[in-house]
């Protein structure tokens, strides 16, 4: 274990676990979590797991990389890493991000302005290994020495004299999953360097060349999505059954049956939800159905495989998986003859299909895509349905999903909705484009294996928890029920786990839900409360 201040060279030379996290050094949390006893302990990996898998970074594990059995295997993997790096730096193999990557690799002034913008670095008590520039500098050093083959004087002058070995590669792979790609760091850079992008590209290198990625994102994520129809594993028949169940549930809740349109040719809108909603928060797609039905929106869902799941995990780690899912979504929309694709409350799906895939979809696959938020704003603000804000008379704060806000610029419509229907709405600080990630970004929310969830709730989501607590400090008594509005499935998942990890409902009375649930809860025609609070 490294005792003194960590340096880049330690990535390849230090033996065993590189750093150990100490909870007493973590950023302090507000009341009622301002004592050491209020912090749940972080779980350690078992000796068996440590023996089998590479976990020599910080004692947590996002990717299960089996330890190589021989020196030859290590060398083969290191060489493969270098092959991948060469491809990352070639325009044919990596046209998708070639220019942004080259710029970010070549122009960092090492001023460290980005560090304090990173919630993971700050929350960890400024642990060096999580500094946004740490992994970027490691990659720059490898590029200079092993790809550009700079001379020894140059390497000495630039401080890029590190050794590349398997330890370094394995630690870099794990370190690529200690950043949520929220890109808050890039927002503060006076030059425009983007450490989030470098992390993204590092993830791509591991996936596209070495086939290394967290199984929840790849094998059980995008591969399952493309092969079975959904990253949740939901097959076509199960989707149809789920909708039937939702229709029954809606009838029970609001006293009338609503049919959710499926595969309706020529509809105005193809609405795609994150399929995780159907399983974990069925009240969310149900709320969309109730609102769209009441407002007379002409839409359809798709029962085609991939078409009923908006997620696109490739956004986080693999350009080809990203393109495959985006092309499938567009093809389904084209076959249905819809005028546009609208994405439900899922931040990364918003960005994947609206922003990133914008330069993959060409010709008749370039079907207009938009967020659900402006349509909801139009319905609420222009009073296309009858709403009574008094039905939401409890403290509410809004979480801004990074993909929707900082990375897409959808900032105000969700606020205008809440101001209209939630009289006790208050902002977190900072908010809008300067928000903090939920801690579950870039796939972390769906990575529940081993002790990674502890790291997520203890470190990467810590800043969000602090923000939520700060927003409700005046009503922190658990007898006052209050709600976090998180209009994104992955953010909701991260916040759900975060609140459970800190036992927050019991201790503070804080719960969470999506945006559409607030709208339905305020609908005059819906007599019973739509929002369901957890039970004590």
């Amino acid at each position: 274990m490294k005792k003194n201040k960590l340096t880049l060279k330690d990535m390849s030379t230090a033996s065993g676990q590189l750093v150990e996290l100490k909870q007493e050094e973590f950023m302090k949390l507000p009341n009622p979590y301002d004592t050491p006893e209020a912090q749940p302990p972080l779980k350690s990996l078992s000796d068996e797991v440590r023996e089998k898998f590479e976990c020599d970074l910080d004692g947590f594990m996002a990717i299960k990389i089996i330890r190589p059995k021989s020196r030859e295997e290590e060398e083969r993997l290191v060489n493969k890493f270098l092959d991948g790096l060469r491809k990352l730096l070639s325009k044919e193999n990596n046209w998708t991000f070639f220019m942004p990557l080259m710029l970010s690799l070549e122009y960092c002034a090492k001023c460290q302005t980005c560090s304090d913008a990173c919630p993971i670095y700050v929350s960890s008590g400024k642990n060096e290994v999580y500094r946004p520039t740490f992994r970027s500098e490691a990659l720059r050093s490898i590029v200079d020495k092993y790809i550009r083959k700079k001379g020894s004087l140059y390497l000495k002058m630039t401080g890029n004299e590190i050794e590349l070995n398997w330890k370094m590669v394995a630690r870099l792979a794990e370190l690529a999953y200690r950043c949520t790609l929220c890109r808050r760091c890039a927002q503060t850079c006076p030059i425009g360097v983007d450490n989030g992008l470098i992390t993204h590209e590092l993830r791509k290198l591991f996936s596209q060349e070495l086939g290394i990625a967290p199984e929840e994102i790849h094998a059980k994520g995008s591969v399952q999505h493309l092969q079975k129809g959904s990253s949740t594993g939901m097959i076509k028949q199960a989707f149809a059954d789920t909708l039937e169940f939702l229709e029954d549930d809606i009838e029970e809740k609001i006293g009338r049956r609503i049919t959710m349109p499926i595969d309706k040719k020529g509809a105005e809108i193809l609405l795609i939800h994150n399929a995780g909603e159907y399983l974990s928060w069925p009240e969310n797609p149900s709320a969309f159905a109730i609102i769209f039905d009441a407002a007379g929106v002409d839409y359809t869902l798709s029962s085609e495989i991939v078409g009923y799941d908006a997620v696109n995990y490739g956004l986080w780690y693999d350009d080809f998986q990203l393109a495959r899912v985006a092309l499938k979504h567009a093809q389904i929309a084209k076959d249905l003859g819809v005028k546009k694709i609208v994405v439900g409350e899922c931040g990364h799906a918003h960005k994947a299909i609206s922003v990133i895939a914008d330069r993959i979809l060409i010709g008749d696959l370039n079907i207009p895509r938009e967020s659900c938020i402006p349509i909801l704003e139009d319905i609420v603000v222009n009073e296309k349905i009858k709403l009574d804000p008094r039905k939401n008379n409890f403290p509410v704060t809004l979480h801004d999903p990074c993909n929707m806000v900082r990375l897409m610029g959808i900032v105000e419509p969700q606020r205008r909705i809440l101001r209209k229907i939630a009289p006790r709405f208050r902002e977190m600080e900072p908010h809008g484009v300067e928000n903090y990630c939920c801690g579950g970004g870039s796939g972390f929310a769906i990575m529940p294996s081993l002790n990674f969830p502890d790291w997520r709730s203890g470190v990467s989501a810590r800043m969000k928890f602090k923000q939520i607590l700060d927003a409700f400090q005046d009503v922190i008594d658990p007898s006052i029920k209050k709600m976090v509005c998180a209009p994104c499935s992955n953010c909701k998942g991260a916040i759900r786990d975060l609140l459970a990890y800190y036992n927050a409902w019991e201790k503070t009375g804080i719960a969470y839900t999506g945006l559409v649930e607030f709208i339905v809860n305020a609908m005059v025609d819906v007599k019973e409360p739509y929002i369901e609070w957890p039970e004590f």
Binding site: K91, F97, M99, T188, P190, G192, K328, E370, G409
Partner: protein, 295 residues
């Protein structure tokens, strides 16, 4: 010192070719996927066109003036550093602003020299020279203060020390030497910068440019060497910001059917990729790999 003008000519040539080569290198790069980051100053405050229903049917309003103002604040006053790293800004702002003034000083000297070449006995040239003294000396002093501040911060800050390489100290010291030699030349040999301007005039007219002052010669030599060195360093971020901000961070141009952009994307999709992970069919065109799916 007959070598001095040759060094000056070489420095200008290397600088121009170096900058040109870098710009061309980036201009020739293929189109990339969008990777914008908000706020984007040519959009509405903090938000984007994605906030509107049917955004693609509406005329795009790009507030270019806002973007120019934003970038002017960023370049002239190092806005991001002011907001997010105030300690560094106290050194970085005088450093950069000093350098901008030195560039202005050089422009005034060149301008004055051109007036003298093409407009004999011009009073305007003398005025420019007088302004150049104020601008140049202020710039050099600010730059020197900035250099000293940056050296201290980099050497003493626990955040920066571990990430500051020898070349970073060398770069600051090099600029310190260029600016310091300028101040020495001004104080000891050329209080009106008329000798330096005459040197520039002779360079422009390909006359025998030289100077008898060793301090001025040292300053010109160091300045020339710095211009030769500059294109090979990350200090070229002063113009590469165009790509980093305009072509990546603020680049939110949508792709419409039949547009030039669509043509560029179609071309990029024909690139052959050879990634070798099992889920990628190596050796195929990018578009084929993407449309084929996982096997």
């Amino acid at each position: 010192m007959t070598w001095l003008p040759y060094l000056s000519y070489i420095s200008v040539l290397v600088l121009v070719v170096g900058i040109f080569a870098k710009v061309i290198k980036y201009l020739r790069m293929p189109i990339h996927l969008r990777w914008e980051l908000y706020p984007i100053p040519h959009e509405k405050k903090d938000g984007s066109y994605f906030e509107e229903v049917d955004w693609w049917k509406k005329p795009r309003k790009k507030h270019y003036l806002n973007q120019i103002i934003f970038m002017a604040q960023e370049i002239l006053f190092i806005r991001a550093l002011y907001h997010h790293n105030r300690k560094m800004w106290y050194a970085s702002f005088p450093f950069h602003f000093g350098l901008y003034l030195v560039i202005g000083w050089l422009a005034l000297l060149v301008g004055g020299a051109l007036l003298k070449i093409f407009w004999v006995a011009s009073g305007l040239a003398e005025t420019l020279l007088a302004v150049a003294v104020v601008v140049g000396v202020t710039g050099m002093i600010l730059g020197i203060i900035g250099c000293v501040g940056l050296l201290i911060i980099r050497a003493t800050s626990s955040d920066l020390h571990g990430y500051t390489a020898p070349v970073d100290y060398f770069n600051i010291l090099f600029i310190f030497a260029v600016l310091g030699s300028g101040i020495i030349a001004w104080v000891s040999a050329d209080p009106r910068f008329s000798i330096v301007q005459e040197y520039i005039r002779r360079l422009i007219t390909f006359s025998a440019a030289t100077t008898t002052s060793k301090t001025i010669a040292w300053h010109i030599a160091l300045f020339s060497l710095f211009l030769i060195y500059l294109p090979f360093t990350h200090m070229t971020h002063f113009f590469m910001k165009y790509f980093m901000w305009d072509k990546v961070r603020f680049e939110d141009e949508p792709n419409f059917r039949g547009s030039d952009m669509e043509g560029k994307i179609a071309k990029a999709l024909t690139y052959t990729q050879n990634w070798s992970a099992p889920h990628i069919q190596t050796g195929k065109k990018w578009s084929e790999t993407a449309s084929k799916g996982v096997e």
